[in-house]
C-alpha cells in the first residue's frame, strides 16, 4: 500500500495541521481512517472500542502534529500510533480480566467480530487460521500482506529491529502452517 499513497500530500497536510488547519484534519482522516480502523479491529476485535481508538489516533495526530518531523511516512506514523494504542488497550483488558478473576472467561478471540465476518466464508480455512495467530503475528502478516508495507516501515510501527520483522513474519507463516495442520490441512512447509 505504501507505494501508492500520496505521501508528499500527506506531509503537506501535516504542515497545515501544525498551523491549526482543521480542514487538513478532515482530509487526513478521510484518507486514512478505513485502513487504520481495519488495522485496529484486526488486533483488538472489538468494534466499539476500535471506533474509540481510531478517534484517539487522529486526535493524537492533531494534538501532536507539531512533533511530527517527517522521518517516516504519515501513514506509518499513524499506524504506529494505532498499534501502540491497540496493544495498550489489550494489556489493560487482560489486566482487568485477570484482576476480576475472569481469566477463564477472557475474550475468546475466535468469536470476535472479525471472526464473525469470516463465518460468511467458512470454506476459507486460511483466513480463519490467520485469525488464530497471536496479535504480534497477525499484525506483521497484515502489515506486510494487506498494507503492503516494507521491512523498515513495519520495524518503525512495531518498534523492533528490521531483522526481527523478517523472522517474525517467517514464524508467523510457520505458525499459520501449524494451525492449518491441526485442522487437517497440509499445505506443506515452507
Amino acid at each position: 500500500m505504501s507505494q501508492h499513497q500520496p505521501k508528499d500530500r500527506d506531509i503537506d497536510l501535516m504542515e497545515r495541521l501544525k498551523k491549526g488547519d482543521q480542514s487538513a484534519m478532515q482530509v487526513l482522516y478521510t484518507r486514512h481512517y478505513q485502513r487504520i480502523y481495519r488495522f485496529i479491529i484486526r488486533q483488538i476485535r472489538d468494534e466499539m472500542m476500535a471506533e474509540d481508538i481510531v478517534n484517539d489516533v487522529f486526535l493524537d495526530c492533531w494534538r501532536q502534529a507539531g512533533k511530527f518531523e517527517g522521518r517516516s511516512a504519515v501513514s506509518t506514523w499513524l499506524t504506529a500510533i494505532a498499534f501502540n494504542k491497540s496493544i495498550s488497550y489489550l494489556r489493560k483488558r487482560r489486566e482487568a480480566q485477570m484482576g476480576d478473576g475472569q481469566a477463564e472467561s477472557m475474550v475468546d478471540e475466535a468469536d470476535g467480530p472479525q471472526t464473525l465476518l469470516m463465518k460468511d466464508d467458512k470454506g476459507d480455512q486460511l483466513k480463519e487460521a490467520m485469525d488464530e495467530l497471536s496479535t504480534d503475528h497477525r499484525a506483521v502478516i497484515d502489515l506486510a500482506y494487506y498494507h503492503e508495507m516494507g521491512v523498515k516501515e513495519i520495524a518503525q510501527i512495531l518498534d523492533i529491529p528490521t531483522n526481527t520483522v523478517k523472522t517474525r513474519l517467517f514464524h508467523a507463516r510457520k505458525n499459520l502452517h501449524e494451525i492449518l495442520l491441526e485442522r487437517g490441512i497440509d499445505r506443506g512447509w515452507p
Binding site: Q3, K67, R173
Partner: protein, 240 residues
C-alpha cells in the same frame, strides 16, 4: 505450537522470509536480486511463492470485509475543535483561504494527480461524486442487460444483479478506456473504490449461468496488462 522468533534461520529460510516483501515490491534492489536468483535455482520456489500469494489474498479479503463506520469524522472534528495542539503556533486558521470545503476539495482532487493514470481517472470521478452527492457509489453500468449504452450511474449501495464480487487493482499503465472496455466485455461493474491502496471492488452482474461466469473470471484474470491484483471475494455460484 508457538515458534521461537529469535531462532536462527538458514540462508534459504532467510530468502523465503523476504518473499512477502518481494511480492509487494518493497525490497531493496540487492534483496530483489537475491530472491530472483533463488527463484531461478530452487525448483520449490514457484510453489512457495504461490502459497505466499494465497496468504496475501486471504489477508486482503479479511481486511476488506471490515467496513469502518462513517460516523467517526463528525465525532473527531467535534473533539478537535475542543482540543488544543501541543508545541505549535497558537494561531488557528479555521476559515482562511485554504480552509473549509475548498481546501478539502483542493486536497482530495489534487492529491490523486500524483497517482497512476488508472487511479487518477477513477479517483477523480469518485471524489467528484463524493463532493456532489455524499456517499453514493460510482457504478459503471457496462452491458447490464437492463441497460443499453455504457455509462455511469449512481447507486446507493444496492447491487441486486451482482452475482459475485472481487477485489482488484489496476496496473499503473492501464488507461481508463481500456479498463472500461474490459469490464464491459466481461459484464463487470465497479461497486466501490478506489481505496487508499488503489483497490476496487468489482461485481459481476447476473447475465449467464455459472460456467459462463467462470469463463468471464478467467478472461479477466488473464488481463495482466490491466490488472495487477485479483482476488475473488464472494460468489453465489460456488466458483471460489
Amino acid at each position: 505450537m508457538m515458534t521461537n522468533s529469535n531462532s536462527e534461520m538458514t540462508e534459504k529460510e532467510a530468502t523465503i522470509a523476504l518473499l512477502p516483501f518481494y511480492l509487494s515490491g518493497t525490497l531493496s534492489k540487492e534483496e530483489t536480486k537475491q530472491v530472483d536468483a533463488w527463484l531461478q535455482s530452487d525448483t520449490q520456489a514457484g510453489a512457495i511463492l504461490d502459497k505466499i500469494d494465497q496468504e496475501r489474498h486471504s489477508s486482503v479479503i479479511a481486511n476488506e470485509s471490515i467496513i469502518a463506520p462513517k460516523t467517526g469524522l463528525a465525532r473527531l472534528m467535534a473533539d478537535v475543535a475542543q482540543t488544543p495542539q501541543e508545541n505549535t503556533a497558537t494561531s488557528r486558521v479555521l476559515s482562511s483561504t485554504k480552509g473549509g470545503v475548498m481546501a478539502w476539495i483542493d486536497q482530495t482532487i489534487l492529491a490523486p494527480l500524483q497517482a497512476a493514470p488508472a487511479q487518477l481517472a477513477w479517483g477523480v470521478c469518485g471524489l467528484l461524486m463524493l463532493v456532489t452527492i455524499g456517499q453514493s457509489t460510482l457504478l459503471y453500468q457496462g452491458k447490464n442487460p437492463t441497460n443499453g449504452a455504457p455509462g455511469f450511474e449512481l447507486a446507493g449501495g444496492e447491487h441486486a444483479n451482482v452475482l459475485s464480487s472481487a477485489i482488484i487493482k489496476f496496473t499503473p499503465s492501464a488507461s481508463m478506456a481500456a479498463i472500461t472496455k474490459t469490464l464491459d466485455e466481461v459484464g463487470a461493474i465497479i461497486m466501490n473504490g478506489p481505496t487508499a491502496s488503489g483497490q476496487f471492488t468489482i461485481g459481476f452482474v447476473a447475465r449467464e449461468n455459472a460456467p459462463a461466469l467462470a469463463e468471464r473470471l478467467t478472461q479477466l484474470q488473464k488481463r495482466t496488462d490491466l490488472i495487477s491484483f485479483f482476488a475473488l471475494q464472494k460468489t453465489d455460484d460456488g466458483l471460489e
